[in-house]
């Protein structure tokens, strides 16, 4: 049944050749045909993250696959580094950090180091060391420490991993390849993955050389009450504040009427 599903999907993919969702990098000679179970995720009132299943056809049977999820937007982070002040821990210096992806997840059929050389991984930005090399930071407050580059990067990794925004999984458990050609896997989008366009890029490697490439786009947006509250709070903060106060007073008075006790404070 599963195999039949892959065959049908592969057939659909062949029919949809020429769709603008993918592009071929200069190095790649073949297209990795892919399809996502959904291209739009909506953040509603009861949103708790989502899962997108992805299916594809490997252009060179038996080749290795590395699939990467990133966000289109670049992040500019302001990071606080804590240090001791007497017995207390408080922010002692701050860095502005750029070049760090907002989200970075990789599924690989084998460990990345076994699929490609360090140079290729660096060039295609595959793996955390490549991200560290891309990171740029400059001190905006306080005095720099000797190991700050490492401290800051490890700190970012921890924050991102805890929010389930960064993750690398290497092995067949997460990336199933049937008969060396048809593959399927899924990416979990955590609640912290905010509105924006996300890219799923599929790289196919044979003997360490890039032989295929494919790309899908996933769009996340807030809808309904969530969208309205976010947009109003950001674009019309004064009106939002007045609305919040009026809403609170009305809710409070209503509660007072319901319980007829004058509420509490």
């Amino acid at each position: 049944m599963k195999r039949l599903l892959f065959v049908i999907l592969a057939a659909c993919l062949v029919v949809s050749l020429g769709a603008p969702a993918w592009a071929v990098t200069p190095q790649a000679s073949e297209r990795v045909l892919t399809a996502a179970s959904k291209n739009r995720i909506e953040i509603g009132l009861f949103y708790k993250g989502d899962v997108v299943h992805l299916f594809g056809a490997n252009p060179v049977p038996g080749s290795d696959l590395i699939i990467r999820l990133t966000a289109q937007k670049e992040e500019e982070l302001k990071l606080s580094v804590k240090g001791t002040f007497g017995p207390f821990w408080m922010t002692v210096r701050q860095y502005a950090v750029t070049g760090i992806p907002f989200v970075y997840k990789i599924h690989a059929s084998r460990p990345i180091g076994e699929i490609v050389s360090a140079e290729t991984a660096q060039e295609l930005e595959l793996g955390f060391p490549a991200i560290k090399n891309r990171m740029q930071m400059h001190l905006i407050r306080g005095e720099a420490g000797p190991n700050d580059a490492d401290l800051v990067f490890q700190g970012i990794l921890k924050i991102k991993k805890e929010a389930n925004l960064y993750n690398i999984e290497e092995g067949p458990e997460r990336l199933t390849i049937t008969e060396g050609k048809l593959f399927s896997h899924y990416f979990r989008f955590p609640p912290a993955a905010t509105e924006g366009t996300y890219l799923v890029e599929s790289f196919s490697f044979s003997n360490g050389e890039l032989v295929g490439y494919g790309k899908d786009e996933i769009h996340i947006r807030k809808v309904g009450l969530e969208a309205w509250l976010t947009q109003t709070s950001q674009n019309y903060p004064l009106a939002y504040g007045i609305g919040a106060v009026i809403f609170a007073v009305c809710a409070g008075l209503l509660v007072g009427v319901i319980f007829k006790k004058g509420g509490h404070h």
Partner: protein
């Protein structure tokens, strides 16, 4: 069941938020206090960003205090003139407080300062309440005279009354200086912005013991100024820091409303000093937890600071 908080930018268990609101509402109903000083730290403990926790708590306080204020106003327990003097102080303090939050957030030390102020404030209030209720229990056993520390408090009140800018407050039956009510309003206003508290636990004793207001007028006037001071803080936090999560405030209100009804019923069955010593223990436990947060090595030395305004 998860619910997505749009301003906090996170998904959280609906029952956890409502439950925390109910717990604090229960305690506030039982002890007759606001509970803002318990609510903000508890929200931080479940992962709500501190600035969003404080600002949304202010919004919830507007709702929680408004029905009480309305009821006291109808009963004639609000000294509007004195309330307005305190309110001017509260608005000045709240406005300064919101700007202070903005600066501290950009410096990356808002959480640190917030916790230090909480530790100092809760430590003082908790210790004083613990000692006072312990003494009351001991004295009630030994059948002592009723006089406690009233003479020194009266002296303080007389001293403040001698300050210039004297005004007559008919409802409270007082002829005193406007400087102290304004100042205490300003201090509570700063704390409302910084900590997300209503400040009743400072304001009411100050009104009764230092300004010399009748207790019921002090409570009515306090609720009146809490609604307007918290409304000002909510408005400015939304405007300047964009940290008010209306959905979070609504869920907290929902929980606290029901919790307060049960708390009030339980509170009636307990003696005053028993209630106070229980509250003192809760407050001191919270103080210890926050103090440990300040001195223990953090799990991650790196944290995100808001690049611009906005809670997420």
């Amino acid at each position: 069941m998860e619910i997505y908080l749009p301003i906090a930018g996170m998904s959280i268990n609906l029952f956890l938020v409502v439950g925390i609101g109910a717990l604090v509402g229960f305690l506030s109903g039982m002890f007759g206090v606001g509970g803002g000083f318990l609510l903000t730290p508890l929200m931080m403990m479940i992962g709500i960003p501190p600035a969003v926790a404080a600002a949304s708590d202010s919004n919830q306080i507007v709702a929680a205090a408004s029905s009480g204020a309305f009821a006291h106003w109808k009963l004639g327990n609000v000294d509007f003139k004195l309330g307005l003097v305190i309110l001017f102080g509260g608005i000045a303090g709240g406005t300064i407080g919101v700007q202070l939050v903005k600066i501290l957030r950009s410096l990356g030390n808002f959480e640190f300062v917030m916790k230090v102020v909480y530790v100092l404030m809760l430590g003082l209030v908790g210790t004083a309440m613990f000692i006072e209720s312990l003494n009351t229990i001991r004295k009630s056993k030994a059948q002592p005279s009723a006089a406690v520390s009233a003479p020194s408090e009266a002296k303080l009140g007389k001293l403040f009354a001698k300050l210039p800018l004297k005004m007559h407050f008919t409802r409270s039956g007082l002829h005193t200086s406007a400087i102290f009510p304004f100042s205490i309003g300003a201090i509570v206003g700063v704390m409302a912005a910084l900590l997300g508290v209503g400040g009743g636990f400072i304001m009411v004793p100050a009104m009764i013991y230092i300004i010399g207001m009748p207790t019921i007028v002090a409570i009515g006037t306090d609720l009146f100024q809490i609604v307007l001071t918290s409304a000002n803080v909510t408005l400015q936090q939304a405007w300047v820091n964009k940290t008010v999560d209306v959905l979070l405030a609504f869920l907290l209100l929902l929980g606290s409303t029901f919790g307060a009804q049960f708390g009030a019923a339980v509170g009636k069955k307990l003696k005053g000093e028993q209630i106070r010593i229980l509250l003192a223990i809760i407050v001191l436990a919270m103080t210890v937890k926050l103090f440990l947060d300040l001195v223990m090595t953090p799990e991650n030395l790196v944290s995100l600071a808001p690049a611009k305004g906005g809670g997420h």
